[in-house]
Amino acid sequence: MVKVSRIRFDGNSVAVLSPLENDVIKILWKRDSMRVRDIYSLLRRRRKVALTSVAVILDRLYEKKLVTRKIALGRGGEHYIYSPCCSQQDFEQSVIDKTVNRLIDKFGPVAVTYFNERFSKRK
């Protein structure tokens, strides 16, 4: 289960991950399995970032169970190969699911009535 601890509302956007976490996971969603150095070389074309920061971010994503990793042997010795745990769609669905469940847990019938009204208006 993906761990999401915080959702930020910045202006019109909703952020679940930090900007760098977001960039890293997006690369992994596109490429599937990659090592830290490869993610770093793709990322530094777009923004100023250090290799160490990419390694920190990947470990954070691993803690949040958004990525898995395994040790592989290649050029330069042992290294981690990171892969996304789920697709972008599954991740977004999981975030919505958690958010809605939390709202219902916290506000009970008020939240349920709100969602009912909201969806009936849409119809």
């Binding site: 150095r37 290799l51 160490t52 330069g76």
Partner: protein, 241 residues
Amino acid sequence: MIGCFAGFAIDIDKVLLTGISLALAVFFLLMISRTKSTKTKVGMIYGHLIMLSFPFVLFTTNFACGAACMSCYSDTMAMVSYALPSAVAVGTLAGFVVIPSFYMFSSRHQSRNRELVAFVRKYSRLMKIRAPKLYIIDKAKPIAFSFKSFKSAVFVSVGMLDILSKKETQAVILHEMAHIRQKSSVMKFSSSLLKLSPLSVLARFHHDTGKEEEEADSFAIRMQGTSKHIISAKRKIGMYH
């Protein structure tokens, strides 16, 4: 208990043995700061701890042997006198066998990186030490350390290999191999055991890890002919939060 102690105190041989062992404990303690070699220092530390715990062992044995003192077994003093030498024994066993074995076992595998293993062997020959085994730790945090007990070993995390270049990794390994030659882990462990001694304040001995670190860095710089790799490795490790 008082009867048993009085029996101990009036026995001139036992009192003499206690006095000699305590005097030796103080002698070893004062010699720690005056000796230069690590091996001798470690010997002095253990000599001090053994001599310091000897009167307790003697006192406890005295209790155990005297049939009239059987009730003294449940006494706290007797328990402490059993516990102190046992603590030294368990501590020593942990430091030299259990902790290194734990890391060697939990690291799961030795490095399969032939180039790096060959590098370790090459420099072990140059340093005239037994080639340490290179273990890989499954952690993203960049860490490296070494042990010198019955077998010596260098441990490096995968995270470290992920962020360091080949030359930087070699610099870190040379740094750790220098620690093995200095017997740093033995000295670190022994000096922390010394803190158990109530007389340790008399020793005016402080194990300076900073100096050892500097020496290990200098060794890596000497071997590589440049300081840039060890400096950049340390900077990268320092940046990891």
